[in-house]
Symmetry: C2
Subunit: 443 residues, 2 copies
């Protein structure tokens, strides 16, 4: 132990993560003091409702009704923001803390994905920490991985399964053959999904995390607006059946990749090979993979959420500060962060899964193949399925004129070519409804 005085924390927000952090510091505090050479104490807390039972004893810890008062209090060295939300008290209190010369630790991905550059600038001006290990993938140490461990690399791609709720739903759909709506309702009943699941199942949550990962991996300004988002609502049991047969899993994959046209960053349902490491990441687990020119492919996996796992990451950020190990939030000084270009998905290149309801008439498949060929799209496989007898609204394949499902896998192509081909196919009148397309990511 050195003679350093205790590091004094102010914790704003006493939800599950805040309570988990207090519990962690109480249980493992003595060991942490031995390991980091400095003891850590909770010098103040703030939350909306005092007196509520949070499963931890807060007796004797000064209570601040206003998070900003805690953030600027002389009694703290580090402000731990666990309030949540990308505006309001979270933003204000972090601003106040940094202006007052306090280090900040936060688990707030939405706040940083929107205001990260501004807040990093405030931190930089005073040489303060703005640490956010817990903002991406819960207990998985990916921020430190990119900020420190892989810093000697030029990174070409970072990708991951970053939303546990969506991954839980997709895993259930795959295993049980159930439709999205049914699994979602079940997840809501069990408390695994919010009453308004938009944030999780439409990709925003993973998008916030990807904005931060992109910034760390590629030296760009975190920019939530630059992320292309597609959710999982449109995925059907038919897609899972086809994926199973073709050797793929469907995951809500977040991918940021350095292309000739800039950084392509997207969150979308994606077909990944069953043999890839991420294919086995099921249920609420998260996983992040990084491709460095020297490191090769490094994969991290673990719990993506939960009070305890998130508290573990918050604690590691605090311990870095206790040790005096401060790094710029996004690695580079803010002035050196590049503006993220948005190549747009039309320039995306890759393979595609396509599922069409084709009217089963002579020449339909040939016409579809011709439209693909016109766009120089070559097909890796075409599977024409017989519609099951009992599928509502679709009569048995083989009866001329009725639609039958056709699944195609394309070789690598440019997304705008595929969109043109599909538009022409729909225009030709050979298919019923809107074609389903899912990008394939080669892993």
């Amino acid at each position: 132990m050195t003679d350093l005085p205790p590091l004094r924390l102010g914790i704003a927000g006493l939800g599950t993560v805040g309570a988990g952090l207090v519990s962690l510091l109480r249980e493992n505090g003595a060991a942490i003091a031995d390991r980091s050479g400095r003891s850590i104490e909770v010098a103040g807390v703030s939350a909306r409702t005092p007196g509520k039972d949070r499963g931890v004893d807060l007796t004797g810890i000064p209570w601040f009704a206003n998070a900003c008062d805690l953030a600027r209090s002389d009694s703290i060295d580090v402000f731990v923001e666990l309030i949540g939300g990308d505006e309001g008290p979270a933003l204000q209190s972090v601003e106040v803390a940094l202006e007052a010369g306090k280090h900040v630790v936060t688990a707030n991905k939405a706040l940083l994905a929107r205001h990260g550059v501004y807040l990093a600038g405030l931190a930089e001006k005073k040489g303060l920490a703005l640490n956010f290990e817990a903002a991406i993938a819960g207990g998985i140490p990916i921020v430190k991985g990119l900020r420190e461990s892989l810093l000697g690399n030029s990174i070409s791609r970072v990708y991951g399964i970053l939303n546990g709720t969506s991954n839980y739903i997709l895993t259930r759909m795959q295993r049980e053959g159930l439709p999205f709506a049914e699994v979602l309702a079940e997840a809501q009943a069990l408390g695994y999904a919010e009453a308004d699941p938009t944030f999780d199942v439409d990709g925003q949550d993973a998008g916030h995390k990807l904005a931060l990962l992109s910034a760390l991996a590629f030296g760009v300004r975190p920019d939530f607006g630059a992320i292309h988002l597609e959710g999982i609502r449109g995925i059907t049991p038919d897609d899972f059946d086809a994926a199973e047969e073709l050797g793929y899993r469907i995951k809500l994959l977040a991918v940021a990749i350095q292309t000739e046209n800039g950084i392509e960053a997207r969150v979308s349902p994606t077909m990944i090979p069953k043999t890839s490491a991420l294919a086995g990441v099921d249920g609420p687990l998260n996983s992040v993979a990084v491709e460095g020119d020297y490191s090769g492919l490094i994969i991290l996996a673990g719990p993506g959420a939960g009070s305890r796992a998130t508290a573990s990451s918050v604690a590691s950020d605090i311990i870095d500060i206790a040790r005096g190990h401060i790094s710029p939030p996004f690695i580079l000084p803010v002035a050196k962060l590049r503006q993220q270009t948005r190549p747009g998905m039309f320039s995306h290149e890759g393979g595609f899964y396509i599922r069409l309801s084709v009217f089963d008439r002579p020449g339909a498949i040939a016409a579809i193949a011709t439209r693909m060929a016109e766009q120089q799209i070559s097909l890796e496989s075409v599977v024409q399925k017989r519609a099951p007898l009992d599928l509502p609204g679709i009569s048995r394949a083989g009866q001329a004129g009725e639609p039958t499902p056709v699944v195609m896998i394309t070789h690598r192509t440019r997304e705008e070519r595929l969109r043109s081909a599909l538009a022409a196919i729909v225009e030709d009148g050979h298919v019923s409804g809107v074609p389903q397309t899912i990008r394939i990511e080669a892993l």
Copy 2:
């Protein structure tokens, strides 16, 4: 960029990792300087043979014939030891460097597993870094993971696949049904295994790494002698067949676990469930898993060796020093590291796979089951296989008196009980040869 002067490296050992590091610094040096706020330069190199083609241009870099001269040279700030070996020039030059006040970065697991406490003591006295990310699992950032990211946790178990050569051999045996000797010879011909493969296939290499992992995870003195080692030479295609049928994979698993009797640390062929994340870690890949009381199970995977991946880890250690982020080598001050107790494998508790050649006579299986019951060992499954007609030396099962393979899986038991039961079974004369036993690790 700050106004810090360049960090000057002395690199001793210019094998593949040393050359990889020079290449990394050349290719990514400008970006690293931006990211770490300080440029890094190679101020001196040392190797046995000057003038050899190493695939990198060393023109203009001062050459030191003697590593110790480089280690003490005023022209360097950091000594990078890539010589290898646990005595001789590696040990001497690291001692000299630390005595001379130079930070040390090394990839040398054998050196640290044997002399880690002594060298950490030297580093501690002068507040110097002794960093060794590259010593465990190549490009995987597990040292930083334990030293920093998971520091708020109490860790109950750390385990991994830490030797790529053994994992490559086991993967080939499993996939091709080939015997050990044949796959080893093939691996040697391809350069994947050394002419003398002892170090890899008998567990020493993984044992060195586990000694370091144990120290980091449990706050004990690294002690190679405290690791129980068993290699993979005794594993046969029959074991892979049985594992496949029973839902297991066989891996050379390194495990350190906190038990009531102390830290049990072992490297041995181990049956792990096919469904576990490590079961899919094939070929030369490495993977490390850590169970923390707050983090939950965190898994890291990536290339376990190779010049580039190892150089990536060495670079991260150097960058930490460039940023002034120095932590004690084994987290705790040397005086606080506990002596690792050796509970010994007799007190190990777990399930076991047992393969016996049982003489097919009335009452043999009953007698075996009785011996197990006497030791309170309950069996999860017993599979009696018919010997194939063409198996050399064993005639067809069913012919009284000839041995037939019997595979048993036990429930959790104490290893000394199993050893006693098996000794009695052999003594009873119902089995031919030595029983095969493989520990099962619940993952």
